[in-house]
Symmetry: C2
Subunit: 321 residues, 2 copies
């Protein structure tokens, strides 16, 4: 048995490799087998994280395991899917038990948190990178797409924005912060929580949804484009954490919220009549704008004036039509 | 739009991205959606190919696109699954149209050959590697596992063995051969044909199956271990191509057939009563041994004597229990 074959056995013994709901056959054969309840469709998404590109190299392996799975799983949540399982394709320069053990622990922790079972994968030698493919179930016809936003809908997000972008200089060791400020931001970066519950609660209510990975403006641009509508965001309505405000001040915190990636909260269009009931059910939803006729994403001040041209200076926004 | 976002659009426009049977939603949203007919399970497998490890670097991008998908799809065939789709996670050092265009053509060609639709993926910057996750459908309870081989079954393979191993020195430029010998070997290496038809024909007949990726002996070791049986292989019964015999001579060709990887033909255990009917249906099946009580894989000569100890000299076999 070669050393990379050993890793396979290592992960096959991990707690997250215990087959859960929807998994008819887990790790160990040519394929895993998934069994969906009647009337369900399978949601599938793939994400690759490359060392030095998508996370610092070296990175804490426990935190990396947590974060890699959360990033991938967030796409399932954004479809309104229920979690089933995931595959892990892990490429490593060498086999180091001191790395694999905490990595698997971080992976296990997030898998348990999300309710995802490890169903298969591949382990190979090469420059460090991870590809996760995640699987969820969603009732046929009820998946939350990007393409259904309608003029008049509210534009909402499922949590505060910009924390991960605020954390990045801390992650990279380019800045320091007091524990009270740094800890919550770093937690948001390293351990984002895929919003499965919210996504499922939005089925049949939200007209479009996605998770924020590239930044609010860039991702709103995707919804606007897929739905054939325009989106207006009120700058003052951006939900910002006290930690982010404490680190950056209001103006830079707003920029982080608009343009920073890696938030992994849901952004969605919602007919206004659903807002109160969702909030009454305890969902931390923030309305920050409206869907309108037209195209593109505009920023408005509190008086409704278009201030898009004066809030610039970052690549994603410039590139969004 | 960033350059890697452009690649996504590039692949989304590829012919293989046209949604086929079982694909309810293809590329472009947070997830793809698969819809299985009632009574079917979804077979899932993931394979990573790293440049310089699993294929030469540089490699012809057309051939690489073909081969990468075939390698991954072969796991579906080995389960007896019908093809549905695949995701492509492509990590590239830079964006070069001269590379992407032929790569996509090779991918498209194999996707069409297999009947697989590209349903999603990710494109990232980093050292060249590819991770494919493939999806197929199989009637519940009819998947071909590794674990059902029973003493008395025939041990069979679905085609000639060792051609890919024979081709490797040619692929790496370490050896040369006449066109008549080199061309078929290189074709086998660069464009293996996943045995979907055979896999489906074996449903309800073969008691265990897998595809040969690590080499006949190593992979037979997996079946023996998963099934709790021993396997006997008759050295003289190995199916060898004329090209391989011409390149290596009989003894080295047998070693290539036993220990060379990358053949991607099916190896399976089959109750003897099914052999004639399958052959009558046109399947090129070679019986090369028997399942027995016990454990491990033995090599026998034509008189049935155990010659395992004298046919050695390669890592996989030594490592197989």
């Amino acid at each position: 048995m070669g050393e990379f074959e050993l890793i396979r056995h290592y992960f096959a013994a991990a707690p997250c490799a215990q087959a859960g709901d929807g998994v008819a056959l887990g790790i160990g054969d040519d394929c895993a087998l998934l069994a969906l309840p009647a009337g369900q469709q399978l949601a599938v998404s793939t994400d690759t994280l490359v060392a030095g590109v998508h996370f610092p190299d070296p990175a804490d392996p426990f935190l990396l395991g947590q974060r890699a799975l959360a990033v991938a799983a967030s796409d399932l949540a954004a479809m309104g899917a229920s979690p089933i399982g995931f595959t892990l394709a892990l490429t490593l320069p060498s086999v180091a038990e001191g790395w694999l053990q905490p990595f698997a622990e971080g992976l296990n922790r997030m898998a348990r948190h999300c309710g995802l079972s490890l169903i298969g994968g591949d382990t190979t030698r090469g420059p460090l990178s991870l590809t996760m493919t995640v699987f969820g179930g969603v009732p046929a016809g009820q998946a939350l797409l990007r393409s259904g936003a309608r003029p008049g809908d509210l534009l909402c997000v499922g949590g505060v924005l910009g924390d991960a972008a605020g954390a990045l200089p801390l992650v990279l060791g380019q800045a320091q912060a007091d524990e009270a400020i740094g800890a919550p931001l770093l937690a948001h970066y390293w351990s984002p929580s895929p919003q499965f519950g919210l996504g499922q609660a939005l089925r049949g209510k939200a007209t479009a949804a996605m998770d924020i990975s590239d930044g609010l403006l860039a991702d709103c641009g995707h919804i606007a484009s897929a739905s054939g509508v325009g989106l207006d965001i009120e700058l003052g309505a951006l939900p910002l954490s006290n930690a982010l405000l404490g680190l950056l001040g209001r103006e830079a915190a707003q920029t982080a919220a608009l343009t920073g990636g890696d938030d992994y909260v849901l952004v969605f269009s919602l007919p206004g009549e659903h807002l109160a009931a969702l909030r009454a059910d305890g969902w931390d939803i923030h309305a920050l704008g409206r869907v309108r006729e037209g195209q593109g994403v505009r920023l408005l001040d509190a008086q409704g004036a278009d201030i898009t041209p004066v809030v610039r200076g970052y690549q994603h926004f410039r590139e969004t039509p």
